[in-house]
């Protein structure tokens, strides 16, 4: 009988359930979502590749013209690459709806300047 007062209170309250995907909450600031790469700041040092725990970043080429392959399906969203990058070229965005039917590979290429 101890929970009866609680139950009676909730008879007239709106349910707490979020009707996802019709209702969504946006994640707070600093959320670790999908990675984004700023080509202008990157110098191709390759430190991010060394510290990634799940080998999700692969560097193609060397130096200031290096491009990257980002294996989204392997990424654990730890943001160690963001902390290690000496030029702040990597950032984590707010995107979290990343489920897919097959492994996703994103190419980070340098565009024509």
């Amino acid at each position: 009988m101890a929970m009866e007062p609680e139950l009676a209170k909730h008879l007239f309250k709106k349910p707490i359930t979020l009707k996802y995907p019709f209702e969504k909450i946006s994640p707070p600031e600093g959320f670790r979502g999908k990675l984004s790469w700023d080509a202008d700041k990157c110098v191709g040092c390759g430190l991010c590749v060394t510290v990634c725990p799940s080998f999700a970043l692969e560097m193609i080429g060397k130096g200031p013209t290096a491009e990257f392959r980002y294996y989204l399906s392997r990424c654990v969203f730890c943001s160690q690459c963001v902390s290690t990058c000496p030029k702040d070229a990597l950032k984590m965005t707010n995107e979290y709806e990343l489920a897919d039917y097959k492994p996703v590979v994103i190419e980070f290429k340098r565009g024509k300047s």
């Binding site: 009988m1 101890a2 929970m3 609680e6 139950l7 707490i16 994640p27 707070p28 600093g30 959320f31 670790r32 060394t50 510290v51 990634c52 725990p53 799940s54 654990v76 969203f77 730890c78 943001s79 160690q80 902390s83 290690t84 984590m92």
Partner: protein, 395 residues
């Protein structure tokens, strides 16, 4: 265990797949009518994490060790990074230590409220389960605000922490803790007054303090028998020597005292966080560490929500560790739970087993397998001691 005796006993297997268990383990029960006569556990989760740490550098290993357990993920990174700092003989700056304490205690609150919900579910009390998990979302949102993720916070690194707690975030933490404290008062009242709940947990799964110490129980499973042992008080790490707190014990030693100890620890954690937020020193949050770690071997301990977590680290001068050995608290509690299960009713099995807060994804053990001779065996304590004396005698 003696193999299949013919008699009046009836064998009931719980596991490896069973609705009572959240993770796989095999518990083979010999049952006489409704009373359990004997239990034989078989732990078979082995994930190869310790071997995987040997081929990754120290920074990558932080995230590997974090994923040993989902519920106690922060204490694994904390004990690991604390161990690597010990290998290098440096200490994290004071502000980083306070932040680590705050996140560690928030994780303890999250783990204990998760356990309360799961224990209520094992008793068939789904209503309490839903309500407690609804209020646990307050803690999850706070952790997401601090670290960017609801589980696997990845906030501790070698040499300090990676993110700071700004005054706005500290304000939100205080507000969230006030809400949480009010809700915990309601659930404490339910646990103390609800008659069907008390019928199921009072006097069930008793463990005496002498048995608990002899069988090497750790954590709340030990404290619920009345023994006052807590790594945070006995061997203070990080900022715990500067923060006053009580070690919660309860003398009866049944499942009700498990509930009371864990609910009490939630209140203590709330007070620790408030004290830490009020007295947080200013300063840097990280120190620079070298990439190559000189040869050393070190032991690092911490108080996970389930008990004492124990890491052994050995470095050899390169950027990859030589050996990382992890001993999780649930492995230490398995002999105690087997003792608690003998003599109980079949209906009490789920709640007694869930009472020690089992996290079987962390529970690994080792066995020897000789493929050529097609043999497999395990060692007991004396054989292990003999082998270690021989090995160190050689070296």
């Amino acid at each position: 265990m003696s193999e299949k005796e013919v008699g009046t006993a009836f064998e009931v297997p719980i596991g490896p797949q069973h609705p009572a268990l959240k993770e796989p383990i095999l518990l083979l029960f010999k049952v006489d009518g409704d009373i359990v006569v004997d239990v034989w556990p078989r732990i078979h989760t082995h994930r190869g994490i310790e071997k995987a740490t040997e081929s990754r550098n120290y920074i990558q290993n932080i995230y590997l060790c974090e994923r040993v357990c989902g519920i106690c993920s922060f204490i694994h990174t904390l004990v690991y990074t604390q161990g690597v700092e010990k290998l290098l003989d440096i200490e994290a700056p004071p502000r980083a230590q306070y932040i680590r304490v705050i996140v560690s205690e928030l994780e303890r609150i999250h783990s204990h409220t998760l356990w309360l919900g799961v224990a209520a579910h094992e008793l068939g009390f789904d209503t309490l389960f839903y309500y407690v998990w609804r209020d646990r979302e307050v803690v999850m949102d706070l952790l997401e605000l601090i670290s960017g993720n609801r589980v696997n916070y990845a906030i501790s690194t070698i040499g300090g922490v990676r993110r700071d707690i700004s005054p706005e975030v500290a304000d939100k933490i205080r507000k969230g803790l006030d809400i949480l404290e009010k809700r915990m008062d309601v659930y404490k009242g339910v646990v103390e007054k609800e008659p069907t709940l008390r019928e199921r947990v009072v006097g069930v799964g008793k463990l005496s303090p002498q048995d608990a110490i002899a069988l090497c129980a750790v954590g709340p499973t030990l404290r619920m028998t009345g023994v006052k042992r807590d790594v945070r008080a006995d061997d203070p790490y990080q900022a715990y020597d500067e923060i006053p707190f009580n070690v919660i014990t309860y003398p009866t030693g049944d499942v009700l005292s498990q509930i009371i100890v864990r609910v009490g620890e939630v209140y203590e954690s709330i007070n620790i966080i408030r004290y830490a937020l009020d007295h947080m020193p200013s300063g840097p949050i990280k120190v620079k560490v070298p990439w190559y770690i000189p040869p050393n071997e070190v032991i690092s301990r911490g108080e996970a929500p389930r008990g004492e977590l124990f890491y052994y680290l050995k470095s050899n001068g390169t950027e990859k560790p030589e050996r990382v050995k992890i001993r999780t608290p649930t492995l230490a509690n398995i002999p105690s739970v087997c003792k608690m299960l003998i003599g109980c009713h079949v209906a009490d099995i789920p709640i007694i087993f869930a009472g020690i807060d089992p996290c079987l994804s962390c529970t690994g053990r080792f066995a020897f397998i000789d493929e050529k001779k097609n043999k497999s065996w395990i060692w007991n304590n004396e054989e292990l001691k003999r082998y270690s004396l021989k090995w160190y005698g050689k070296a």
